[in-house]
Every structure is written in C-alpha cells, then in structure tokens.
C-alpha cells in the first residue's frame, strides 16, 4: 500500500484530516498504516542532493569514529552505555546509511530511522561541544527528521502537532478568538487584585510586544496573568498581538520546515503590523529557538535576526531587576537549597547562561543556590527535549531519559528546581511523577511575584 489514510506523505492541512488523525487513539491505526507506507526513494535522494551541503556532507565523511562523543550524550549514559547510543553511531547508521545507499532505503529502514531520530536524540546539541571535528549530531538529526517527515515517517503526535501549527498556527487548537478571550478573561480576573492592570491587545508602537507558548492560554492561563502582573508592576508599555502571538514550533521538532516558516512569518508579520520597539518571549526554550534563533533563517532574513530585538523572558527579567523596575523584598528571598535547570535551547543555542544566574542573585538568599553538575552550556538535556516529552510511543524511553536530570537534581540536594522553560518544566514534573524524589519546580514568574516589593500606589485600596 503506497499511502495510508492517516499515515501518509501529506502534511495535515485541514480540520477534517486533523480530526481523523486525532480520532485514532494513540495512533494505533497510524502506526499500522506506517508499516506499509512506500518510500519515494527518488524524491528522497533528490532532496538529499539539494539540501545536503558542505557541512553535513563533511561531517558524515570525516567523522573519525573515535567515539569521543559517546560520554557526552546523556542518552548514552542513562542507557547503560550501550554502543548503539553513541551519537556518531546513531547518525551514521541512519542518515549516513541513507546517504550511502543514495536514498534507496525501504520501509523497515525508515521506521527504524524514525525511532532513532525521535527516541534516541533530543537535538540538545551537547555532543557537538565534545567532538574534535565539531560534528554536531543534534543538528544532523534535525536534518534527518526533515527527510523522514517528508516521507511520512514521523511520530503520530508530532504529525498532529505540526498539523495544529498549520491549521491554527499554534501547537494546540487555540484560535485567535480563544486567545483574545483568554487575555480579556485573565485581565478581568487579575484586575481585582491589581487595579489598573491591563492586557492590551494589538496596541501599536508599544515598547514591548509579548508572545507566548500556546500551552499557556490552553492549560495554564495564569502564566499570562503573571506576565501581565510583572509588566504592570514594572510599568511597561506593552501589548500582545491578536494574531502571531504563538512562538512555539512543534513543526521544528517534527521536521516540517515549510510549516516552521509559515509560523514564524506570522509572528514577524505581527511585529511589522504593531511596530513595537522590541519583543519578549515567554519562559520557553524551544519557542525562543524557533522564533528568535532559527526562525530568521526559515523566513530567509539575511542578517539572521528577527525584525526587532527579540529577547527571552529571562533577559527581560534580569534587566527589570537590574534597573529596579522590579524590586525584591529581601525578607522574601528563597531560603532553601534551590537549583536551576539550564535550557539547552537558549543556553547552548543562544549563550544565555549568565543572565539566569544574575536573576538568582536577586531572588535567592546567598548560600542557598546550588549548581547542578555539569551546568551552563555543559548542562544535560532535561530528558524531554526535541519532542520526546509528547510522544506516547516512546514514553518508556523518555522515562529512562529523565534519569540523568533526576541524578543531577538529587546530587544538588535541592528540593526546589527553577525551570524557566516550558519543556524542561514538564519534564521535571513528569520525572517527579515517575520517580517520586520529592521535589517542587517552578517558572520564574510566580516566584518573583511572591517576593515582589509592590509600590503603594499599585496595591488595591483596603476595604475594611
């Protein structure tokens, strides 16, 4: 059978197709159909020839097979150091083999490659820092995922995820109306406690345009309220766009590059339309990577930068604390051992390693902050990156992957983990659910709000 009804080479572009795919619980039928999906080998080879340039080609060729990358991969470490988890092996036996065979690979090969690409690499880019040749296997796996996606070999959840992005331009079915309503609702709810608080939608020429992760309106709208409170207290002139508010990209993890481009263009259009001085994204690593680090290239911007300065939430927060726009009540600083999860997507991929530590200095009583080991750009992935968190089929592998972070956290002795990244936050929550090590985890926003020194005029009038 060439193409299945649910599992096929076409991206999900219509609500009907989306619903059909969603209705297939856990993708049982989807994966059945996948077993019979044909590989269009000519097309595969053609696209390899067109897109595999110097970098990947050279990497595949000159890899010295020295194995120095082995130890660097947390998945190798937590899987009992099985040789099949050596980064170089993982990529050579999948992408390398595909290239060697000039694209002439069969269904079984593709299904195996899919499993490796999504369950044995989170594209955390750590191994790239340990290879003498500078071979970044995470980058190559992203590339491989694109090839697999174009042939229909992609995990069910990510096919749906990128379909969501195609239809709703959000990783969940949050429509523009849902979004604007959520903002209004949150503004109303919060205004009681914070008189004068607003969530201005589509305000032109504001200082800040704020964008977020679709999980926020969908599952934890209080995060939007918290952002609003902090902007309110800091006295910022800010806005959210009604369209182009969602900055995540499951399509990036699915390898759906066309969709990636469409989504980030949508955000950039909002920037052009509203003309803010700069943009601030929420506490999310992969959203930042998609919209700020890689997005400019997807839409073909020569300078590799978004149309306006676009910063991660931690950058704004550090700035607000530094300039005194936000003040912390010293009595309320954290006085228990606390550790910090460095998100690969903005630390290793964007260098934002010191800025989070600057925030820590403001909010943690000296002596209570315990670094994980290793940390900063050498930190390990939380275990749920690259889409791993969401893929049911690979849940057992994902749970094993969480162990590295578990060990790291246990070693710090901290019971509180600050995770300014949605995905890391989720992974740490799941790790507690799975292994019960007795920890709490938090974004920065609620922590900061709980220790703010609020200026008198912003407090609600006492009604006795």
């Amino acid at each position: 059978m060439p193409e299945g009804k649910i599992c096929n080479k076409q991206p999900i572009n219509t609500v009907e197709q989306l619903q059909l795919t969603l209705a297939d619980k856990s993708g049982i039928k989807y994966y059945e159909e996948m077993e019979h999906l044909d590989v269009d080998t000519d097309k595969l080879w053609a696209s390899i020839q067109k897109t595999m340039k110097s970098r990947t080609k050279t990497w595949l060729e000159i890899c010295a097979h020295c194995g120095l990358c082995a130890e660097s991969c947390f998945l190798y470490q937590v899987n009992g150091k099985v040789p099949t988890q050596v980064p170089s092996y993982k990529i050579q036996s999948t992408l390398g083999e595909m290239v060697k065979r000039k694209g002439k690979v069969d269904n079984a090969f593709m299904r195996h490659a899919m499993e490796v690409a999504w369950s044995q690499c989170t594209c955390c880019n750590r191994c790239g820092m340990y290879c003498p040749h500078g071979i970044d296997v995470g980058v190559m796996f992203s590339y491989l995922r694109g090839l697999l996606y174009s042939q229909g070999f992609v995990p069910w959840e990510l096919k749906i995820g990128s379909g969501m992005h195609r239809i709703y331009r959000a990783q969940m079915d949050v429509t523009q109306e849902d979004w604007v309503e959520t903002c209004e609702w949150m503004a109303e709810e919060t205004e009681e406690e914070w008189p004068g608080l607003e969530i201005p939608v589509d305000k032109k020429d504001a200082d800040i345009m704020y964008t977020c992760n679709a999980r926020e309106p969908k599952h934890y709208p209080e995060d939007i309220a918290e952002a609003a409170i902090l902007f309110h207290v800091a006295g910022e002139n800010w806005t959210v766009p009604s369209e182009g508010w969602e900055q995540t990209s499951l399509s990036m993890f699915a390898g759906d590059w066309e969709c990636c481009k469409d989504n980030v263009q949508n955000v950039y259009n909002a920037i052009e339309r509203l003309n803010p001085k700069r943009c601030i994204g929420t506490e999310c690593g992969h959203a930042h990577r998609a919209t700020v680090i890689e997005g400019p290239y997807w839409v073909g911007r020569e300078d590799g930068l978004p149309p306006r300065p676009y910063i991660h939430y931690v950058e704004w927060l550090a700035e607000a604390l530094r300039t005194g726009k936000l003040k912390i009540d010293p009595a309320k600083r954290i006085k228990e051992p606390v550790t910090l999860q460095d998100s690969c997507n903005y630390v290793r991929n964007h260098g934002l390693k010191m800025i989070t530590r600057e925030i820590i200095e403001y909010i943690v009583e000296p002596g209570y902050f315990v670094e994980m080991s290793p940390n900063r750009e050498h930190n390990y992935c939380c275990g749920g990156g690259g889409g791993f968190n969401g893929i049911g089929k690979f849940r057992p592998q994902r749970n094993v992957a969480l162990r590295k972070k578990m060990e790291q956290i246990i070693d710090t002795g901290a019971k509180l983990v600050i995770a300014p990244c949605h995905n890391c936050w989720d992974a740490i929550r799941d790790l507690e659910e799975e292994y019960h090590i007795g920890i709490r985890w938090s974004f920065l926003k609620p922590l900061i709000i709980s220790m703010l020194e609020v200026p008198e005029h912003l407090k609600p009038k006492e009604e006795e």
Binding site: K53, K57, T58, E61, Y76, G134, E302, G351, L352
Partner: protein, 225 residues
C-alpha cells in the same frame, strides 16, 4: 625505479595531493549555505571569524577544550601521534637532502634521534589506536574496515621508513616501499578521510562561526569548549 619515484612521480603526487586539498577547501566554502546551515556568515563576519578562530585554537590546544581535558591519556597520545605524523616527514634530514637537490632549499632538519623517536611514536600510537578500536565497545561499534585502511595508509610510511633506517633486510627494497607508501599517503589526502587534515579546520571554523554568530557570540558569551 628510484629515479622515477622520486622524480616525476613525486611531482605528480604533490600536485594531485596539494591541488586536491585546495579544491576540497574551496568546495567546502562554496558549499556553505547561510539558509540551510542557519548561520548568517556574511552579515556578521567579524563575530563569525572570532568564533572560528576560537574554535580552532581551542581544539589545537590539548587543554583548550573540555573534550580534551576530561581525557588526558587519550589526548596526550592523540597529540603526540599527530605531531609525529606531521613533523617527521617535513623536517626529516633525509627528506631535506632531496629537497636540497631538487629545489636548492632546505628546512631545518630534525636531529636523528628526535626523528626516530617521533616515527616510533607514530607507529606505537597507531597500534594503540587499533587496540583502542578493538577494546572499547563505543569505538568498536563505529569502526569499519575503512578506518583500519586509513590507519594503515597513515602509518605505513613510518613503518617502512624505520625498517629502512635500521637497515633490516634489503635496504633498497624497504626504501622503495617507503617511498611508495609515502606517495600513497600523500595521494590519499584529498580522497579519503585523511582529508581531515584540512577539513578539520573548515568544519571547526564553521561550527565556531555558528557559535560566534548565532549560538551566543553576539550575546557576549563564548562557549567554553
């Protein structure tokens, strides 16, 4: 035979080998693609160059990268092996005599005991690398016949050279064998994995530019390899 191998054949070898390597460098640069690689090479060239230089220097230095520091034993052997592999042929007295005859120039020559030592290091290092490939599961799984072939090509001139040097057996035979192995060595440079002698710099520079431009360089943080 000797005259042919050290005359026309040697010239041809040099041309193919160095010409080939140059072609590889040029092709590499031409094959960079700002959109596919997602690195704005042109727009932020100065950040890129800074990152590239940093990346190369960190890895040319045995303590420059964490990847080296955490494995002192391997690193020590690895550096010695490469130093021997590169220095010996260039600065060997006997080679310099040939250079003197052909072009009338010569480079400072290595004292012979040092040259011998370096050659031995290459041979021992080669054996060590083979053993390492067999001993460690994480290296064994990566190893192919091709890896051994490349190693043999790389080390053969040193083995034959040492045999000739100590005049074990038929000197003439081992000398010719040494020259042939040396020429195969040179000819393999552009066409095999040995091309990493130049592509190492290209690949490192590319990733260095990636870090220098996109992954933190412009945010003022240089990654500590």
């Amino acid at each position: 035979m000797y005259d042919f191998l050290t005359g026309p054949m040697l010239w041809l070898t040099f041309i193919v080998s160095f010409g080939g390597l140059l072609v590889r460098v040029i092709l590499y640069i031409k094959g960079l693609d700002q959109q596919l690689d997602r690195v704005a090479y042109r727009a932020h060239l100065s950040y890129g160059i800074k990152g590239a230089i940093r990346s190369i220097l960190c890895w040319l230095n045995p303590i420059g990268a964490r990847g080296w520091r955490i494995r002192p034993g391997f690193t020590f052997m690895f550096f010695l092996f490469h130093i021997g592999l590169l220095l010996t042929p260039v600065f060997l007295a006997a080679h310099n005599v040939m250079l003197q005859d052909a072009l009338g120039i010569s480079l400072p020559a290595l004292p012979s005991f040092l040259a011998d030592t370096l050659a031995w290091i290459v041979v021992v290092g080669g054996v060590f690398m083979i053993l390492r490939r067999i001993a460690f599961p994480e290296v064994r799984i990566l190893t192919t016949a091709y890896d051994y072939l490349v190693l043999v090509i790389a080390v053969a001139p040193f083995v034959t050279g040492l045999i000739a040097r100590y005049a074990v057996g038929d000197y003439q035979f081992w000398l010719l064998a040494h020259i042939i192995c040396g020429e195969i060595w040179l000819l393999s440079l552009p066409f095999t994995k040995l091309s990493h002698c130049v592509l190492f710099f290209m690949s490192r520079a590319q990733l260095g530019m990636d870090y220098g431009i996109k992954r933190g360089g412009m945010k003022g943080s240089s990654m500590a390899w």
